[in-house]
């Protein structure tokens, strides 16, 4: 699971609504996957990122998009690495409101809820 994916994920446990975002990430196994750097692609992603969630999930992240980021290759490369190359293979995603844990195994988050946890 990439950190850009994590940035989109929210808990949908019944009743938590928007308080289910962001999920607390605990990674026990991480791999770095080289991905071809595409500055245009990364630049377009930046405005879509929920920065606070990203900061929670990743250590080495700038506090926010810097001015003129679209042309700042160093910045873009750093974001490229964090968003697209860090791959969480094993770990958990925790709902900040309910505490419910969603597992990540072999790089795949399992976001299925049990019957009781979803609406009646």
């Amino acid at each position: 699971m990439k950190l850009l994916t994590h940035n989109l994920l929210s808990s949908h446990v019944r009743g938590v609504g928007s308080r289910g975002f962001p999920l607390r990430l605990q990674a026990t196994e991480v791999r770095i996957n080289p991905v071809e750097f595409n500055p245009d692609f990364v630049a377009r992603m930046i405005p879509k990122v929920e920065w606070a969630a990203l900061l929670e999930a990743a250590d080495t992240v700038p506090k926010g998009p810097i001015e003129g980021y679209e042309h700042d290759e160093k910045f873009l490369r750093q974001m490229h690495h964090v968003l697209l190359e860090v791959d969480v293979l094993e770990g958990t995603l925790q709902c900040p409101e309910s505490g419910r844990l969603f597992p990540i195994s072999r790089g795949i988050p399992n976001m299925l809820l049990s019957d009781e946890e979803t609406e009646t």
Binding site: F102, R106, P109, M111
Partner: protein, 452 residues
Amino acid sequence: MDHEAAQLEKQHVHDVYESTAPYFGDLQSKAWPRVRQFLQEQKPGSLIADIGCGTGKYLKVNSQVYALGCDYCGPLVEIARSRGCEVMVCDNLHLPFRDQGLDAIISIGVIHHFSTKQRRIRAIKEMARVLVPGGQLMIYVWAMEQKNRHFEKQDVLIPWNRALCSRLLSDPSQPGRKPCAHPERSHPYHPPCSVCSCSVCFKEQGHSQRSHSMDYEPLMAGTCCTGISKEGEEENGFYNTLGKSFRSWFFSRSLDESTLRKQIERVRPLKNTEGWANSTISIQPSRHSSLDLGHQEPLSTREQSLDEDVFVEASQKQLEWPRAPATRKHLRGDQQGEVRRNGDGNFLEDANTSENCVNEDDAEEGHPSASKILRRISALDSTDSNSEETIPVEEQQSGVLDSRAFMRYYHVFREGELYGLLKEHVAELHVLSSGNDHGNWCVIAEKKDNCD
């Protein structure tokens, strides 16, 4: 009610895909051109989700977008992951995304696996929720109106024969990859194995126009098959007979909420829940019985009854089908040949497509459910219980399981139904376009501003 719907989907969607997933591992299939186009038209840097992605065939169509695959079926998601896709396991009805995070979503051959209108609406509304305003959603569902086949009802169980597929996969004569439908969905998957045998088609071997790829409607094949059909019709020949009885196999039963409730009450005594599903299935016998096999009377009698156990019908068909044994032998004998031919395209698949075109979940080439039924007939032939008396579902059930038939639930859509569903029940979406593609009703809709 919702619980029963979920149960039905568990048995006849999720469990089937989960069980059949291993067969899809090596099989590659192509994307529908129109879906590819939709994906390629998305702006670079878009965040896109394929809800019901199966093995992820659409996830790499556009390298300039960030594509996430979601599916209910773990095994299929694993396959997608192994191909380098970014995927997760989740439920279309409870998407694990924050509101308004995605630029585009595709739902190809998914919604038709939801067994109630309410659940279908919920699935669409969930996808609308996670779209940004202005974001687009593309939905493909099987059409009830098919060119070469006729669904009598909208709620159907389509069988799939695993046995043949495994045979194919291990067949050494098989030239590399055989195109097979890939299951996809938050629910959906396709039945692999499009091989079926048709003695008539074998005769048409010389037909070099078969370019039956997974992408396209088998127009060429249709040509071949049309020829066969015509011939059949004129002579009241085997193929025509075959086709009509295949049609009768598309048993279906309305699964509107009230009916579903009744069915559930009726079948409670059955301990075998698989049997439950089957016993609610009605058979749609052919009305134009050119089944001139000398047993027309019983057949027409059965036409009146919509609650016959399908496997009783199966047995009946065998009895009434003098050529069935020959067909069977022919089938087996030609297995190798068929498989080889499937390297170029699918023979009987082509034949059956013209007759009983069934578009699989993600709208792959029409898979010949008819052919699968034929195979099942063959398998069942070995059972002894061939009589007109009602056979207990459990007995029949074992016959079915032996033949490895899985049945998947579909609600096939009428023209305008999908459009109407969005228009009346999903106010947050504005329909941009709708149409028919390869036997699917498709809609592209846009998330309205200031909604949700």
